[in-house]
């Protein structure tokens, strides 16, 4: 039983290490892999919207920092392409 536990732990450790190495390669280095896990993973979501779903509304602020508008206000007579992103 003890031997099985030791082997299982060893295999798990190797798998975790291999996963981290793979993530490091993907992210650009071990530090990036750690930062990805720490900062990016909590905000990554597969997404729950699919074609055919009603588009959610959201209140947005204009660049002047004063005027608000609703995302759905921009959808109307024509298709609306919405690109979400940031500067960095």
């Amino acid at each position: 039983m003890r031997t099985i536990a030791i082997w299982s732990s060893g295999i798990l450790g190797i798998l975790l290490l291999a996963g981290f190495v793979a993530l490091s390669v993907m992210a650009g280095g071990p530090k990036d892999a750690l930062y990805m896990l720490r900062y990016a993973l909590p905000h990554m979501h597969r997404g729950k919207l699919h074609p055919g779903d009603d588009a959610p509304d959201a209140r947005l602020l204009a660049l002047n920092g004063k005027d608000y508008f609703h995302l759905r206000e921009r959808a109307g007579a024509r298709p609306l392409m919405v690109v979400f992103g940031s500067y960095t």
């Binding site: 650009g28 959201a58 759905r72 024509r78 298709p79 609306l80 940031s86």
Partner: protein, 138 residues
């Protein structure tokens, strides 16, 4: 921006600025330093507005713009972070739901949707339109 230029007479466009993907105080990429795009994660709405304006002015970004406020409501509703594309049809329904960036972010898919509706716009180079803020961090 190629997609915007090609289809702005047929469709509407909106860019929504959400929480930063690679701020200096979180996961900053080497490319951010190289391109001098170094900002901390905004903690106030004023900071977010300032960065959004920097982006638009620096890149002379012509696409209509909206800023997600600090509740991150738009980001949460659309699972937007770090980048994602949607197309909403005339009935207010999702017509195209892009994948999560960067690896599943494919503007060419959105272009294909628009092309299927309004016809293709030929370009001598590759049809994929890469948003101005999208970087190749390779």
């Amino acid at each position: 921006m190629k997609i915007y230029n090609d289809y702005k007479d047929h469709a509407d466009f909106l860019t929504v600025y959400v929480r930063e993907a690679h701020p200096t105080d979180e996961w900053q990429m080497k490319s951010n330093v190289k391109e001098d795009v170094c900002y901390a994660q905004p903690k106030t709405l004023e900071q977010r507005i300032a960065i959004a304006n920097d982006f638009v002015q620096r890149l002379k970004y012509p696409v209509p713009f909206g800023i997600d406020d600090m509740t991150n409501a738009a980001n949460d509703a659309y699972s937007a972070w770090p980048e994602r594309i949607y197309i909403i049809d005339e009935h207010g329904r999702i017509a195209y739901a892009g994948g999560m960036g960067p690896f599943n972010y494919h503007p060419d898919e959105a272009r294909q949707w628009l092309a299927s509706r309004f016809g293709e716009v030929a370009h001598p180079d590759a049809p994929e339109a890469t948003p101005a803020y999208r970087r190749d961090d390779g």
